[in-house]
Symmetry: C2
DNA sequence: TTGTAGGCGTTATCAA
DNA sequence: TTGATAACGCCTACAA
């Protein structure tokens, strides 16, 4: 690949002149400029951003550490981050952490060595102190989790969302709501659990009843089967699932054992993934504005990079309760 | 950020010695090594891969240019690519092209300037000759499209898949199959259209009937409404949609006008996205192994990078017809 | 076993 | 208006 030197030689000028026309700064004779541009084209010259980065300290690259891009809640966030990044001439390195602390750490290290200028951290799973240790002074924005001591944060109020979801069930007339929770190691799962408990206590129809699962469709399915095999008074008439994937599992369980979602069993999910609208019954859920959160997180990050400040920003996005058929007695 | 020089100074050795312990090559006294390591830790030293890249010519970074990560068919591919990449110590830069030639070109240019070692190009939309011009001699692998003149390619036989889908409808007893096609500018859309036509001609129950749409749920919905308002003999009893998103739109249209998917109208999609299993009726579709294709594409790319050969590899992956409720007369 | 020096592709500072 | 030249952070001969 041709270098600036090759171009200079071919154009019969010095490298500094070539550099000037590349960056369009400083004086350069119109004629010379033409020659240089010709030379560049003839050689198929493309400046090396890595060499540039070495001298400028800028790589125009940020990292995106996200649990799993193939999990339907995350692509929207990723798209938001990338859209905002490219609009500012930045690229995004995609990292799937699988909610694993070691993977998160490994990626963060790599990103630092690559001299990424910052990172958007989604659903981080590590202890904050450990995180700050590896992340050093690289700017970052946390999505879906509030960071206490550093960085900006962007999230929705999971507890209040879960509270709202559960409350909605009671208000629709369901009397006994079970919660299928996500893994306790995931923060948002715990927050949702709290919100559920709060609503249960407030209405006080029954004790909280929780079954721990894994945020996956299969987990929701099996948990629902377990819950629904109970007979008598302790049998729930509604399930609040910790996320939409598990809620879809619940719907499948209903089909399996031949009861009608919505009618025989109220179901609410969380996230508002696209397919929640297409299930049968369609799924009532708490929608999180993933795209906007990603976009905003990236904006905050780039802002911080350009203009590193002392201030720390925390933004709580509004969720939205999407009422659909899975919480309608009659449909 | 501390440099190798700082480390050298603190450890009281030369930079080359530090370099030796970093890369664990050449002789270095056990004692010295310990000192150096200490110094590195004290300073929080992290080697700059961009400086390294400048001298070694390796960036351990590849690009992934994909139409839209928030479109449910693509995250699996992306995950496959990233998994294979990270297993080989490579990072992936995510680029959303939105099927736009200019965006594709813009990203490719950026990736070259960043000295990415290669790129996985998904669903590329550009003329091959234009593509090769911008891509220069950067290794690449094309997914979901066969490249004629350069690079490796990985795809499924869209035409045969569409043929299989359509044929399945006839064999299930449907008599008149309409095709809602994707945008004609997208290659796979055209291939699927061909496959449809082939099956129609083979069974010869009726003329091909095509309505052009946009690969989106809303497009499928509107197209289906248009198709279904026909009365009489020309009214179809089945629809083969160019992808699952449009097929989901078709299902919604059925609901809207009160006919039963599967029974009153056979429906087949294409792609096998996750949510196709959760619709009502569940969607018969042609499944593409996205994760495996992504993984394989990345493998081929890294192989090409390490061992640039003259040979060009083309791999056609098998699709799978998933028969579900949307093509069952009785259910 | 360790150090010196040149170079990787650019940009930026000075002179000319 | 142009050209040397010294960085940028690291690696790799080559010497010592």
């Amino acid at each position: 690949m041709a270098t600036i030197k090759d171009v200079a030689r071919l154009a019969g000028v010095s490298v500094s002149t070539v550099s000037r026309v590349i960056n369009d700064n400083g004086y350069v004779n119109a004629e010379t400029r033409k020659n240089v541009i010709n030379a560049m084209e003839n050689l198929g010259f493309r400046p090396s951003n890595i060499a540039r980065g070495l001298v400028s300290g800028k790589t125009y690259t940020i990292g995106l550490v996200i649990p799993d891009i193939s999990n339907p809640f995350f692509p929207d966030i990723a798209r938001g981050v990338e859209d905002e990044a490219i609009a500012n001439n930045y690229n995004v390195i995609l990292c799937n952490s699988d909610w694993k602390v070691e993977r998160e750490t490994m990626y963060l290290s790599l990103l630092i060595e690559k001299r990424c200028e910052g990172v958007v951290l989604v659903g981080s799973h590590s202890e904050e102190s450990d995180l700050l240790k590896v992340i050093g002074k690289m700017p970052f924005v946390s999505v879906d989790r509030e960071m206490v001591h550093a960085g900006h944060s962007v999230w929705v109020d999971n507890e209040f969302g879960a509270y709202t979801a559960t409350k909605h069930l009671y208000e629709e007339g369901y009397k006994r709501v079970v919660h299928i929770s996500g893994p306790p190691s995931v923060r948002s799962a715990n927050a949702r659990l709290s919100g559920y408990k709060k609503a249960v206590r407030e209405f006080n129809y029954h004790e909280p009843q929780i079954i721990e699962s894994d945020f996956r469709t299969s987990g929701g399915y099996e948990s629902a089967l377990k819950v629904l095999e109970q007979q008598g008074d302790s049998r729930p008439d509604a399930i609040f699932a910790g996320n939409d994937l598990m809620a879809i599992g619940v719907i499948q369980a209903c089909e399996k054992i031949g009861i009608k979602g919505g009618v025989d069993l109220g179901i609410v999910g969380f996230d508002g993934i696209g397919s929640s609208a297409y299930t049968s019954p369609s799924l009532t859920t708490i929608f999180q504005p993933g795209y906007e959160m990603g976009r905003r997180a990236c904006h905050l990050l780039l802002d911080e990079i350009v203009n590193p400040g002392k201030r720390r920003i925390k933004e709580v996005f509004n969720f939205e309760l999407l009422v659909r058929a899975s919480t309608k007695w009659i449909k």
